[in-house]
Amino acid sequence: MRILVSIDDTDTVKVDNVDVRGTGEMAELIAKAIEDNGWGSCQPITRHQLLIHPDIPYTSHNSSMCFAANIESTYLKPLIDFAADFLACESAPDADPGLCIAIIERISRPGWLISFGYMAKNYVLTKENAYDLAEKLGIHLSEHGGTGLGVIGALAGAGLRLGGNDGRFKGKLKLKTKDNTITTGKICSQSQVDIVKCLETGAVLHDDELVLLGDWVKTILHYGQAVLPVSPVNEIGTGSPGWKTYSKKQMKDF
């Protein structure tokens, strides 16, 4: 079965010289456990930015992390138990972690879940809002410490991942090049990038088009695909790349 695993509010800012794992790293460890235990295979993690608002308690950026996985149905309960224990034990002491695990094919009203995700990017929601919707849709939602407010972001993260048009993938791409220039075809064959696209014009690059790589090459979730966004290079000479990858500054809105 295909599932979405989404977590939120597991971390805190480092205090008293004690390092604390970020939510992204926690998601990575859950995904690793799924694969190490032979429960299934996992897809890359996406980060979803939620609303920044004075009425919302969050650590530093209020984002949730989500990944999709394929697992055997018999491993669903072991996975929920593992992830719940993991969040309870490994989250920061003053965090408010939430866990959402949704079986994609069983979400009766996917649009409701997606809408909840976008609501969480624009409005202050409550735990009750989250639990009510999860119950209606038959989605596992649980809290594992503190106020448990992370359930809101966890459910929202699953909705935004399901919607396929929000967030950026965790980690940066590592591509083999000689001079930071590479063809679109090689980008896609060396990584999990589905397409290379200029978002300003909507142009999807052909396999033979050259791209100049920056030092922080990241993909976004766009129409359900892992998309490497690029911008046109102003001065194009013969054999020069016509495109360059986004800078951090350009990526900040995703």
Partner: protein, 71 residues
């Protein structure tokens, strides 16, 4: 002052890249955040620091020592 009093919100909003980099360069408490949370192209910038907490308009520094950077 680069930071306001009280909550210590950065006056440069979310788009004063130069100022955020200048302050971080001088701050002994700067600590790079998780790479996935970085937004500034300058490696050392308050915008990339683990101690910044985004607000609606800007950010606040959660490390009190960061407040020494006032001019």
């Amino acid at each position: 002052m680069l930071y306001t009093n009280g909550e210590g919100e950065f006056r440069g909003s979310k788009d004063d890249w130069d100022l955020a980099a200048q302050i971080a360069e001088k701050c002994v408490e700067f600590k790079a955040d998780d790479e996935d949370e970085m937004v500034a192209d300058e490696a050392v910038s308050c915008y990339n620091c683990r101690y910044r907490r985004w607000t609606v308009r800007s950010f606040v520094c959660l490390n009190k020592a960061g407040f020494i950077w006032t001019v």
